[in-house]
Symmetry: D2
Subunit: 354 residues, 4 copies
């Protein structure tokens, strides 16, 4: 008996694109990676040895790839600047889409993806908020949903990268949308997930350039703190950093009226502890992939299953616009130095409405 597999293509074969391609090739039994696209010769060279031998057709033209015979779905993992455009083109070709986060660094472009998806309700269009697929975040959500900590009212979350002394992230800042859009977007999405339909009342953000003053020219920082007030008497605060010495430390804390849930308070790179003359030491993951690899694989499998069986996706594509909207407002507050206020229906207002 032949088993139906989802024919999927991967657009973009950079750091994360290559991982997505391999996840669909090797770790997603119900998917068949049939094609891959990259405009970059080095990436194509990599694909020639790692993908092509397994039957993956390589393309250097995105639109050509969309015409690959029998193609059903695309994972968009190119540079953020073309996420929205590529996602929309795929949707228009009647293909399911898994688009890396953020949809765009701009709210309007992000909304464009949502609008395109709305016209094709039979398609599965999802933003790759990997933490939504992480077992620990799901466990925490289920406990919260079960009432274990009463009403969630304070949310703290951080995305902290290991310091990259190469200064790579300075140039990257031109296109990333800034630290709140690029890093805290995950934390913001988690907050919206855990708080449900809370509406933003105000945002404020501040930040510093601890090691890379050059970031200022792009209106960005290497350490940012943002605070979001909600109209239903809840508050969230976020921290992002690009200067962690020990490694990646993404963590979240949800405080409720009857308890608290903490996710990854004490990061660990494995289960080994070293006792040495200088004390007791453990290593921690060097990057987000070290923390979230399993979540990415779960994402690939669940997206595949949703496409094949026309199942509901675990969250709506519009969530991605909500997160970008808050991320952009935080970034704006960082740049202007001003607090930004919203009324209960989401319109910006000039003054606090206490």
């Amino acid at each position: 008996m032949a088993i139906k597999k989802l024919k999927i293509a991967c657009s973009g074969l950079g750091r994360m694109g290559a991982r997505h391609a391999l996840h669909f090739l090797e770790k997603t039994p119900r998917a068949e990676l049939v094609a891959a696209f990259s405009p970059d010769e080095k990436e194509i060279a990599w694909a020639r040895s790692k993908l092509e031998p397994f039957g993956v057709k390589l393309y250097t033209d995105y639109e050509e790839m969309l015409k690959h015979p029998g193609l059903e779905a695309v994972v968009v993992a190119t540079a953020t600047t073309v996420h929205a455009e590529q996602a929309i083109k795929a949707i228009e070709k009647d293909l399911h889409v898994l688009c890396e986060k953020p949809l765009s660094t701009r709210v309007d472009l992000s909304q464009g993806v949502v609008d395109a998806a709305k016209k094709k309700p039979h398609l599965k269009v999802m933003c790759g908020f990997s933490r939504r697929f992480d077992a620990s975040y799901r466990d925490a959500y289920n406990r919260l949903d079960n009432g274990d900590i009463g009403r969630a009212c304070v949310f703290r979350s951080q995305t902290c990268d290991k310091l990259d002394p190469s200064g790579f992230f300075v140039d990257y800042a031109q296109f990333s949308g800034g630290i709140f859009v690029d890093c805290n977007i995950h934390d913001i999405d988690l907050c919206l997930w855990y708080f449900g339909d809370s509406r933003v009342k105000s945002v404020t953000a501040v930040g510093i350039t601890a090691v890379q003053p050059a970031l200022r020219k792009y209106g960005d920082v290497d350490n940012g703190v943002g605070v979001v007030e909600f109209h239903d008497d809840r508050v969230a605060y976020f921290y992002s950093s690009r200067i962690m010495a020990a490694g990646q430390h993404d963590m979240t804390e949800v405080i409720g009226t009857e308890g608290k849930l903490t996710i990854n308070a004490n990061p660990m790179g494995g289960l080994v502890e070293m006792s040495e003359p200088s004390g007791v030491r453990r290593e921690i993951p060097p990057d987000y992939y070290g923390r979230f690899k399993e979540a990415f694989i779960t994402e690939a499998n669940e997206f595949t299953e949703a496409c094949l069986e026309n199942k509901k996706l675990p969250f709506k594509i519009s969530a991605a616009v909500d997160a970008v909207r808050i991320g952009c407002a935080l970034q704006e507050s960082l740049r202007s130095g001003k607090k930004i206020y919203f009324d209960e229906v989401g319109n910006r207002i000039e003054k606090a409405n206490l």
Copy 2:
């Protein structure tokens, strides 16, 4: 050979006052608790059995107590509203003073204590910032001072109390100065200690009433988040809460350009861990005294030694005003919903000066 002991009196015998009295009576070998004052009959009754038998003279009139023969020092541990007044009176009587924090909930009254102290440079006048005497905070400071984490640039600190279902803290809020002045004052002081002479650029605060909406009538909240920007490209953020389910969790994190120091990330009430059908569990201290008892005793001993041997106190009394100033600004921002800006010499300004 007779050993010289410091003759000290304790003003106030409430929760913390009684502890101070016992620390000086039993845990401070070089001090002699000679007198104690309380206007409260219940407190006096307690003192009659716990202090009087050990030679402590009890007073119901503060000024009478200040005349106690041979008295050299006073610990002021009454209600916050009279801290400053009592401290000043003791200074004027030429007595050393250890005053519980905060000196006052108002900046001007706090400054009054500093002014009084300045006129008597031979006296030791100290604000009871107990965490300054905590072994772990000192250890962290020394590592920071030693350059172990490079330049400290981000500071996070929280004071989180176990939920008191009695609602005691609602009435208390009338006099406490608010959650940023009452709770985060410690975190603010630690920040100023660790950052050195950084000058405030802006403050913002938000908060919610998760379990005690009645706090609003006093302009207070039961969960607050405050952010302080400094002119030298540093940032601090604070959290305070009165609704922790498990117990007291005061913790601090200092992020530097080359590393991070964390103090009490994982609170523990002891060294016992229970493995049960529901998992692995540990208890945590129910209140700040469970966390800081040893620090209070060290404080008593070091204050005593400084008085007896005319040694320098570990920090200046003016630090207490700096902390109150920031705490009050945070509380004001909480109430107004506005961000507050300061120029480089500490004057308030209307707009962000980017």
Copy 3:
């Protein structure tokens, strides 16, 4: 281009057999699960819905399955009592074998597998010591091998199962070989791996029946402590238990002359911590699969790769006999109450030879 995949069959579809089957079916891209055998109707029923639709041929006769066209390898995951016999039959059919641990509860039968394998040096024959494939155990081994803790001299390791109130393990004890052969076999194997070629000098074991006195009739216990001395001045001690309240806790500690490595000192079922009125709590894995799932998958993939590319296996099949020999000696010491001595070439001797 067609990619060569290893055609493998799974013998036994019980708890662990079913997992192996699924690992080869879904998590081992270079393997093709072509056949499965079980003598048990319920297991076959399971396979009919979970394996057959994916092209897996089901057999109720082991020897028939060995004749499956094109079959190259077999994973033996039936009851321990038939491990050796089935492994030998597969070897004789010129098939690679991955045999679940232990090869047998008897040393001579285990040796039979080794002898059969020796005659077919072109075959890959491996015992499923899953911890050898665990990332943390490998990390610890590499640190040890790198000299990070000097010379390893003390080894402590435990295999502790969550209490199963059904009493299942009483009946199971008839065939399991006893707690040291069934549970500590892993710890013994790790010890031999980490210590290298140390030779046993003595073994002693004691044990109790804390919750299942009925185990005594099979010469078994529900908590055992075993000590193994080695001739090269090293010592190992083992603990096994079947009564853990909180869940599975397998852990290991290796003490060297310059440091210590600990693997899984603090078991965690995920990254979520709950703060509740009773304290701070975390859950732990309910069983060994919760701890070692990834190791089993790595095992399947590495075994497959070794077969396909004629690579060296990570450890010799003879290691499995060495572990059974020590496990059986511990079990014998438990039953007789006596210490057992060995000379430097492995012969039993009557008295200590100090």
Copy 4:
């Protein structure tokens, strides 16, 4: 009103003696340290500056000190070899005695102290098992006593010292009674406390000299593992080491039929954690005093109170003989390489009695 204080003397002013003297001088409000004895000129010189100025009379003759006017109690903290003799002399002078552990490295001499104490039932005679006064061990005991973990049946405990590269402990081994008597005596005492009146069925011990082969000439080792079986189906196992790289790690685990209690599984020298390029690190206490300082102070205060108010001591002096008996049997087993058996009334028997 004059408060009655216990007039106490300290015999021995070495490492631990000096600490005891200071605890009674500074940390025990109801005690008055009136005298101190040492035969060692360096110790006397220390006492001249640290004790004499506070009114402590110094003696270089133990028996002279016992005649100190008004003396009521003695803490014996000299070399282990004279513990018993000094304790007995003090008892005969009608003085309360707190004797450092062990009473003696020999069972008969230890029993001599018990016999002397029996003749003076009005005296308080206690062995300084400091862990009995540790808050965490008491907490664990109370939970156990409360039935929180069902019936305690397996006990694991270790005393592990930081490696002292000076090799001091080689010479010390001549008098210490060996590692099981010197180090594990605490663990054995805890076991007897937690298990209640369990009777020993067998003991076995093995050990190695990982860094100090010279210990062998005194029948000692630098790493020892001992196992004790009890007649009531319980088992205890002990580990002691003198080669820990990171610092002191004394820990205990009590496994019951319904749960487990762990005391100090994760040693910490403070509440500071360092995040560095090499990972996350904490320091641990360098020695037992860093772990048990507070317990020693509690011991001093409770002993004082028991003497002054004729209160029951927290445990009987005979417990100290029971612990030495087991420690000596373990040491004998280590030396002979043989397992030692006892019948239910404590007589040694030749063979296992299963």
